[in-house]
């Protein structure tokens, strides 16, 4: 299967100046062949996005050294559906259709996804045809039929301090028979804002695609632009990028572990994790001048920190390392808590493999993939760290992935902070043209950013969040669980609404 996919790809026409992975323009047979091969398990879908005349597909052939991008020129406003053969592409195709007007020919799901009928126009990045506003609640949910089934609608405004989205539960008593998500409420038109703009402005938009992963997004964007312009950032910048990325990972994992336990009404761990998280953010603020380290990574390097910043971060690590280990022991020693997390919200390995789900969702179900190790980039390419993988696939496994990752991140941080290279942390960008693509490992999974730079400006860029391939699995995780366990399952995934809705 993977050989056939590799052969299909080799038949395409290579596009010059796309770095570091190759990009091929393929015809209908090549595109459909790749889709079929993906559907048969020949590789991982990494992204699918549109522009005015093209649809692009990023994929990684099983066993191949580097991923690649396939591009199909849209001729008669449609393209052969990938989702028809490979379900993970379905929502991505619906989004392309809503934004650009390219119809996925042969797709089994033609419902609008991001377009709720509220923009006053159709295909805002394509033909921009005016349209009447629709009732936002009008949406054909998939039916769940049977005696005693009833529906529970939740959202878009949720009960907690969280992002908006709609969940439609079909339940039989307490048991969830089907969950269907409806997202797109926080669609801000990011693909549009990343079209024909300068690099600085685009950097600020990319840093705000998903606030909790701002470092990972800026990191991927900076690397993609640097690939396009063939710039190498200075060594100090590379290490500082890694430092920020790991601080972001620790802060988010701490918040998640606490919140998951809180959803099982175990507020003690939540309280302690909240304090740890606050210590981490305060240290980040002192070191980098922003609690979430937003806009600190820019194409060309990083906005440098004072010389004493490394010391402050080390002190923070000393402060939280031991108390955190104690909280981990508490989690491990509390059967009443594990009664809620173990065997709850199980996702099968087959599903995470098909969806190529990254982050804790994939690694808790046995998918041994981490961008930092498997598609290595500076400063991880020569760093030593373990990638924790669990196989139970339940809420508990997703908690343990986070716990072990925090420990690994602390080791990485200690190593880098003790060996911070001196020198400049930023080089000037130069005018130039080219295309670049990069993937970084955010706390919740791999983030992909693709850019086309023309004359030193961003002609077009696209970002794909890890959540695209995790949201659908949440629907599978909650099946046959009780409604009361949904907050636990949802929090253990912690998918981004904003990163997904774009």
């Amino acid at each position: 299967m993977s050989e056939r996919l590799a052969k299909r790809i080799a038949e395409g026409t290579p596009v010059a100046s796309h770095r570091p992975w190759p990009r091929y323009e393929v015809d209908q047979a090549g595109w459909t062949g790749a889709a079929q091969a993906l559907g048969e398990g020949g590789g991982d879908l990494l992204g699918l996005w549109g522009e005015t005349d093209f649809v692009h597909l990023a994929l990684r052939v099983t066993g191949a050294a580097a991923p690649c991008v396939l591009s199909y020129r849209v001729k008669t406003s449609d393209f052969p559906s990938v989702g028809r053969y490979h379900a993970p592409a379905l929502r991505l195709e619906r989004a392309v259709c809503d934004l650009y007007g390219h119809l996925p020919f042969g797709s089994p799901d033609r419902r609008a996804w991001l377009d709720h009928g509220a923009w006053g126009l159709r295909a805002p990045l394509g033909p921009r045809t005016p349209s009447l506003r629709r009732d936002p609640a009008a949406y054909d949910f998939l039916p769940a039929l049977g005696e005693g089934l009833h529906q529970i609608p939740v959202g878009p405004v949720h009960a907690g301090i969280i992002e908006p989205g709609h969940f439609r539960f079909s339940v039989n008593g307490e048991i969830v028979a089907r969950l269907e998500e409806r997202l797109g409420y926080v669609h801000k038109g990011i693909d549009g804002l990343l079209t024909g703009t300068d690099i600085e402005r685009a950097s600020r938009v990319v840093a705000r695609i998903s606030g909790d992963s701002t470092v990972a997004y800026s990191f991927a964007f900076a690397r993609a632009v640097e690939e396009a312009l063939q710039i190498d950032p200075p060594p100090r910048a590379k290490i500082l990028r890694g430092v920020m990325a790991e601080i972001e990972r620790i802060a988010n994992h701490l918040g998640d572990i606490g919140a998951i336990c809180n959803d099982a009404s175990f507020s003690l761990i939540h309280a302690h994790c909240g304090i740890f998280r606050e210590r981490v953010l305060a240290a980040a603020d002192r070191a980098f001048g922003h609690r979430l380290m937003m806009d600190r990574i820019v194409p060309g390097g990083v906005k440098d920190t004072g010389p004493g910043a490394g010391r402050g971060l080390q002190v923070m690590l000393d402060e939280i390392e031991k108390p955190f280990a104690e909280i981990v022991r508490l989690y491990d020693d509390t059967p009443s808590l594990q009664d809620r997390t173990c065997n709850t919200g199980i996702v099968s390995k087959a599903l995470v493999d098909t969806w190529a789900a990254g982050g804790h969702v994939g690694r808790a179900s046995g998918r041994d993939f981490d961008t930092r190790r498997d598609l290595p980039y500076a400063p991880y390419h020569d760093a030593a760290f373990a990638v924790p993988v669990f196989t139970a696939g339940d809420v508990d496994a997703r908690v343990w992935v986070r716990i072990r990752e925090i420990e690994q991140s602390m080791l990485l941080l200690r190593h880098w902070l003790a060996n911070l290279p001196p020198g400049p942390a930023r080089v000037d960008l130069r005018d130039g043209s080219g295309e670049g693509i990069a993937m970084t490992e955010a706390f919740r999974g791999d983030v992909l950013v693709w850019v086309r730079v023309e004359g030193g400006r961003i002609a077009k860029a696209h970002a794909r969040d890890a959540s695209w391939f995790q949201w659908p699995l949440l629907e599978a995780a909650i099946e046959n669980n009780i409604v009361a366990d949904f907050p636990l399952c949802n929090k253990s995934f912690n998918c981004s609404y904003s990163g997904h809705d774009l």
Binding site: H116, P136, E163, Y185, L193, R204, I275, L292, S498
Partner: protein, 189 residues
Amino acid sequence: MRTLLLRSLFARAVTVAAPRPDAPPPPGEDAILTELGKALEVRARRLFGRSITIREVDAGSCNGCELEIHALNNAVYDVERFGIKFAASPRHADVLLVTGPVTHNMWVALERTYAATPDPKWVVAVGDCAAGCGVFADSYATVGSVEKVVPVDLVIKGCPPKPIDLVKGLLELMDRATAKPAAKPVAQA
């Protein structure tokens, strides 16, 4: 767990010290929080008896603002000790904290949430997006600021605002609300 609980029992609270009128506040950033907290508490009590209840509405934020609003509830800021708490329903809320540039897809939901909040009510727009100066303002998919959809009583800027700025902002809201408590018209049923 028992040792942990026992130790917690005798440990000093990580929360900044409770304000005492006769003692000078401790130095540093924590001192500001203590002072703010005291002032906030007095005003909240005058207006609402002992508490105000907040309903948070994300109307298109990148979730950065949500992270910092979340922090208000942690043991370090712990706004609940001042009588400020977050509610799960707008029906129970006095204040709506709204974040984001208001996407067109969230417009109706925000309007309905506002309509579901009983009077008297206040709206606080949190963050640069909600204030109308964020990076998402020029898009086909966004309205641009919260005040274009519902009347806004206070704006707290920042991208995202720090938790301490959020506490400051709530204090300012109290000031305004005390100045003209009956000025707000009753919304049509």
